[in-house]
Symmetry: C2
Amino acid sequence: MAEKRACNHSCAHQACISLVPIFNHLEPAQMDEIMQTVQPGSYKKGEVIYRAGDQSDSLYIVNKGKIRIYRLSESGKEQLVRILNPGNFTGELALFQENVHEAYAEAVVDTEVCTIKRSDLQEFLIKYPSISLKILSEFSNRLEKSERQTARFATERVETRIALFLAECVEDQDGSLHIQLPMSKKDLASYLGTTPETISRRLTAFEEQGLIKQVGQRKMEILKLDDLLLI
Amino acid sequence: MAEKRACNHSCAHQACISLVPIFNHLEPAQMDEIMQTVQPGSYKKGEVIYRAGDQSDSLYIVNKGKIRIYRLSESGKEQLVRILNPGNFTGELALFQENVHEAYAEAVVDTEVCTIKRSDLQEFLIKYPSISLKILSEFSNRLEKSERQTARFATERVETRIALFLAECVEDQDGSLHIQLPMSKKDLASYLGTTPETISRRLTAFEEQGLIKQVGQRKMEILKLDDLLLI
DNA sequence: CGACAGGTTGACCGTTATCAAAGATCGTGG
DNA sequence: CCACGATCTTTGATAACGGTCAACCTGTCG
């Protein structure tokens, strides 16, 4: 193990495994076993990692960079599903079911990933059932979140969806509520099922009502969180 | 075992276990073991089985009847998430995560369920890891479906969502394409994030365009499936 | 047979998409 | 380090999709 840690230049990519919630409860020895099977990969900005219809054969864990997961609807319009940051993973859905991706994964910036092959992962799932339980928990989370999101689309106006999204991004910084948008407003529009124009207009309106204060392109301050959530 | 099968009046409720995809791959002996832990329950039409905020402690498997799963959004509007028929189950999400339900479950008609207690289920998951894999597969399915639904809400017009829903309900009957709506139009409206009025109007419009033919309240025939999907 | 929930139809209007054009920002390469 | 282009963002004008309210109709079930 000490030997491995010394081997930084070639093995550093494996470190990301220890960031992943579905693995980080394992014993060091088990973790090492998994690290042995991991393959590094890197993608240039804009490069596609997988696309809808592709056969699925790996779990991708983000080591460095950012990945956009998006779907194309029946009529060809794009919807952003999520943004992956280091420690997040993707490709898991297709591993347990149809084997075919329904979404697209694209590197937002130059990105490094670790991949675990389907067959290796299945071996670990059988060997260490606790991993299944962790994935089950992760999936539960995602399902709740996805169904909550669906319900919001079904019942809330765009204005409200924006307000709710802002509320979820709030971070407390010495008493005042700051927001750092995790994506461009264009992507945010796609994520929230609206247009960049509407995002821009609603944020301006929020500002005029004294609810927020925009600072630069991706930052803002929440002045009246309660009122924002009453919208 | 033969003894158990003889005991129909008191044990018939257990039969539903064998309908459930996450259990039906097990050996008869294992299945029996699970059946031993099952508790029957019954709910009158309209009765609430669990509500958002309730502590979760069981998996509910529908034996007979119908259950509506719905959410209330932040602003208090209702969205129908799914309808459970015999063999379907619910309550699984809260078992693996927060322990608290986010949705409501309500009997649509008089309904019989089998419940498996959280602790019993967890025991089985450890004892028979194949169950975890089945649930993982079920969750993958649900996630794909939920994310597909979210993407539709985000990108498709109401008219298109209705058309896509109809297309998913189609059943081939001696060459012609029939549809039996699985719920009232009121519930369908809630499921699709629209209003009964709009559902009614769009179906009438489809009929005027010669795409469908409505027969009674919950039945129709698809005349031009291709054109319907181009909308 | 009556009551009630579900369904339909009409009129109206608000929210939000669309199209267009100008302005800001970022990354890139010279 | 600056300049350029590409992309993102903003603002305006316009239209339409779909929600809301109201009234009426219909089927279903006690």
